[in-house]
C-alpha cells in the first residue's frame, strides 16, 4: 500500500476549468459527440479515416484550450510496454486471422515471425486509435463536471424510459458512485491504517506470494464492502423517509438548453462521420 493518504483524493479525469467553446457546450452534446466518436474510432480499420479522425480530435483539443501534453503525460510510464506490445503485434499478427482476405502482402517471413502489410496497418491504426480514444475521453472528462455528465446522461436516456430503461435509476447509480468515491477512499485509508496497526505485514515473497497478497487484500477489502453495504442500507431508509419517489414527474434545478454552438458542433460531427464512413468504405488505403 504505497501511500495511504492518496486514497481520499482519487478522482476520475479531473475537471479543468477554462473558458473555451468546448467547455461551454451542453453536456448532452459532448456525450453524444463522444459516443459517436468512440464508435467511429473503433469501427475504422484503414489509414485514411483514422487520419481524418485524429486530425479532427486534435483540432477539438486545440479549441478546448487544454494541454495535449497533459493528456499524454499519463501514458509516459507505459511507453515501454506499449512499444513491446506493438512489436509483438507487428511480428506475430500475420499468423492466421484471414489476413489474405485483406489483400495483404507478406513483407518478411522467418520461422514463427510473419510481418505483413495488414500487420503494419493494424499496429499503426491501433496506435492512432489509442491516441484518439485517450484524447476523446480526456476531452470529455476535463471539460465537463461529473454532475453535468450525470445530468447529461440521464437527459439523453430519458426518452428510453418509455420502453422501460430506468434512466433515472441509472443516473442515481452514477451520482451515488461519484459522490461516495472520496468517502470510500477515506474509509479505505482508515481501514488500511487500522489493519497496519494490528500488524498486517507486507507479504514475504516466494512462489505462492500471491496467496499472501490475496489474504492481505481480503483483510482490507472485506471491511470496505461491509461499510459500503451498511451505508447503502442506511441511505435507502433515509431516502424513503424523505419520500423519494424516483424519476416520475421529477423536475430539476439545473436546466440545460442547447445553444447555437451545440448545433454547430453536432453538425460538424455528423459531417465528419460521413466523410470517415465514405473513406472507410472506399478503396482508399
Amino acid at each position: 500500500m504505497a501511500s495511504y493518504d492518496a486514497l481520499r483524493h482519487v478522482s476520475i479525469g479531473q475537471y479543468i476549468p477554462a473558458d473555451s467553446a468546448v467547455h461551454r457546450l451542453d453536456p448532452r452534446t459532448k456525450l453524444a459527440i463522444a459516443g459517436l466518436g468512440l464508435v467511429a474510432v473503433v469501427v475504422t480499420t484503414t489509414y485514411v479515416p483514422n487520419m481524418v479522425l485524429l486530425v479532427a480530435i486534435l483540432a477539438a483539443v486545440r479549441v478546448s484550450r487544454l494541454s495535449a501534453r497533459y493528456m499524454l503525460a499519463g501514458i509516459v510510464p507505459a511507453l515501454p510496454v506499449i512499444a513491446l506490445l506493438a512489436l509483438m503485434q507487428l511480428l506475430f499478427y500475420g499468423n492466421g486471422q484471414g489476413t489474405a482476405a485483406l489483400g495483404s502482402r507478406v513483407l518478411l517471413s522467418w520461422g514463427a515471425i510473419r510481418i505483413s502489410t495488414a500487420g503494419v496497418r493494424l499496429v499503426i491504426v491501433s496506435l492512432m486509435r489509442f491516441v484518439d480514444l485517450l484524447f476523446l475521453t480526456s476531452l470529455l472528462t476535463n471539460t465537463t463536471t461529473s454532475s453535468a455528465l450525470t445530468h447529461g446522461m440521464e437527459s439523453l436516456l430519458r426518452p428510453l424510459s418509455a420502453i422501460g430503461l430506468p434512466s433515472h435509476e441509472l443516473a442515481l447509480v452514477c451520482a451515488i458512485a461519484l459522490r461516495f468515491l472520496p468517502i470510500l477512499g477515506e474509509e479505505a485509508e482508515t481501514i488500511a491504517k487500522a489493519q497496519a496497526s494490528r500488524g498486517l505485514d507486507e507479504p514475504r515473497g516466494g512462489r505462492l506470494a500471491f496467496v499472501q497478497y490475496a489474504r492481505r487484500l481480503a483483510a482490507l477489502i472485506v471491511p470496505l464492502f461491509v461499510d459500503a453495504y451498511r451505508r447503502a442500507e442506511e441511505m435507502t431508509m433515509a431516502m424513503q423517509a424523505r419520500c423519494y419517489r424516483g424519476g416520475r414527474g421529477r423536475t430539476y434545478y439545473t436546466r440545460y438548453a442547447l445553444g447555437r454552438t451545440d448545433w454547430i458542433a453536432l453538425g460538424l460531427t455528423v459531417g465528419l462521420l460521413i466523410v470517415v464512413a465514405l473513406a472507410q468504405y472506399s478503396p482508399l488505403p
Binding site: 487484500l217 472485506v222 471491511p223
Partner: protein, 234 residues
C-alpha cells in the same frame, strides 16, 4: 402507490459497489503482482460479481459497465483503450455471476458433486480439443484441471452448500472477465492466440481463486451484519 423499494435499494447498492470499483481502478488498489507479461492480477471485477449476486443481473450489468468505462478511461496500453476489449466483455461479469448463483443457492451437496464430476469430464474433453491445436496448452490445462478438481472436491466435502454456491459464482464471474477480454483482444488482433492462452492460464487462475475467496468472505460478512451487532467493523 409506493415507490418500488427494492428498486431503490438495488440502485443504491449498485451505486456504492460502483464507487468501490472506481476506487479500485483509479487508485490502482488491489493489484496483486503475478509474474506474467500483463503485470497484475486484479480484483476490480469483484464488486461487479457481488452486485450480480446480491442484487441481480441488472445491478451486475450496471456495475460491470462502470468497471468497463473505468478500465477504458484509466488504460495506458492500446489493448485496453479499445471499448470492444475493455467495455463489452465486462458487461457480462455480473450477469453470469448472478445466473450462476441463483440456481446454486439452495443446491444440495449431491447436486454440486455431480456438477463437479460433469465439469471435470467437460474439461477433459476441452483439453483434448486444445491439445490438438496447441499441445502444450492442452497438457497444461489438463494438469491444472485435474489438480483443481481434486482440490475442489476435497474442499466441498468440508464446506457448507451455500458457501460453495458463492465460490462458484465468484469463479464464474472472474472466468467471464478473463475469457471474454482475452477473446476480444485476440479477435481485434492485439495479441496472438498463444499469448492469450499463456496470459489466460497464468493470470486467470490466480484471479479465479482470489475472486472466489474474496466473494465468499464479503458475502458471508454481509449476511452477518443483521445478526451480530457488537465487535469492531474494521
Amino acid at each position: 402507490m409506493s415507490y418500488n423499494e427494492s428498486g431503490l435499494r438495488r440502485a443504491i447498492t449498485a451505486g456504492l459497489l460502483l464507487a468501490i470499483t472506481l476506487l479500485l481502478v483509479f487508485a490502482r488498489l488491489g493489484m496483486i503482482p503475478v509474474p506474467t507479461p500483463a503485470g497484475n492480477a486484479t480484483i476490480a471485477h469483484i464488486p461487479a460479481i457481488i452486485a450480480g449476486i446480491l442484487e441481480g443481473p441488472l445491478a451486475g450489468l450496471i456495475v460491470g459497465m462502470g468497471f468497463g468505462f473505468a478500465s477504458l478511461t484509466s488504460a495506458t496500453i492500446p489493448m485496453f483503450k479499445d471499448p470492444l476489449v475493455a467495455l463489452v466483455p465486462r458487461l457480462l461479469i455480473g450477469i453470469t455471476a448472478a445466473w450462476a448463483y441463483y440456481p446454486l443457492r439452495r443446491a444440495s451437496k449431491r447436486v454440486l458433486g455431480i456438477m463437479v464430476a460433469v465439469l471435470y469430464i467437460l474439461l477433459l474433453v476441452f483439453c483434448r480439443e486444445v491439445y490438438l491445436s496447441t499441445p502444450w496448452a492442452g497438457i497444461a490445462l489438463a494438469v491444472v484441471s485435474t489438480a483443481g478438481v481434486a482440490y475442489l472436491y476435497w474442499w466441498m466435502r468440508r464446506e457448507e452448500a451455500g458457501i460453495i454456491g458463492l465460490a462458484i459464482a465468484g469463479a464464474v464471474g472472474s472466468l467471464t472477465n478473463t475469457v471474454l477480454v482475452l477473446t476480444a483482444a485476440v479477435w481485434r488482433g492485439y495479441i496472438p492466440g498463444d499469448a492469450a492462452w499463456g496470459i489466460g492460464l497464468t493470470h486467470g487462475i490466480p484471479e479465479v481463486i482470489v475472486s472466489a475467496i474474496i466473494v465468499v468472505a464479503v458475502v458471508a460478512a454481509l449476511r452477518q451484519i443483521g445478526r451480530r451487532k457488537g465487535g469492531s467493523s474494521l
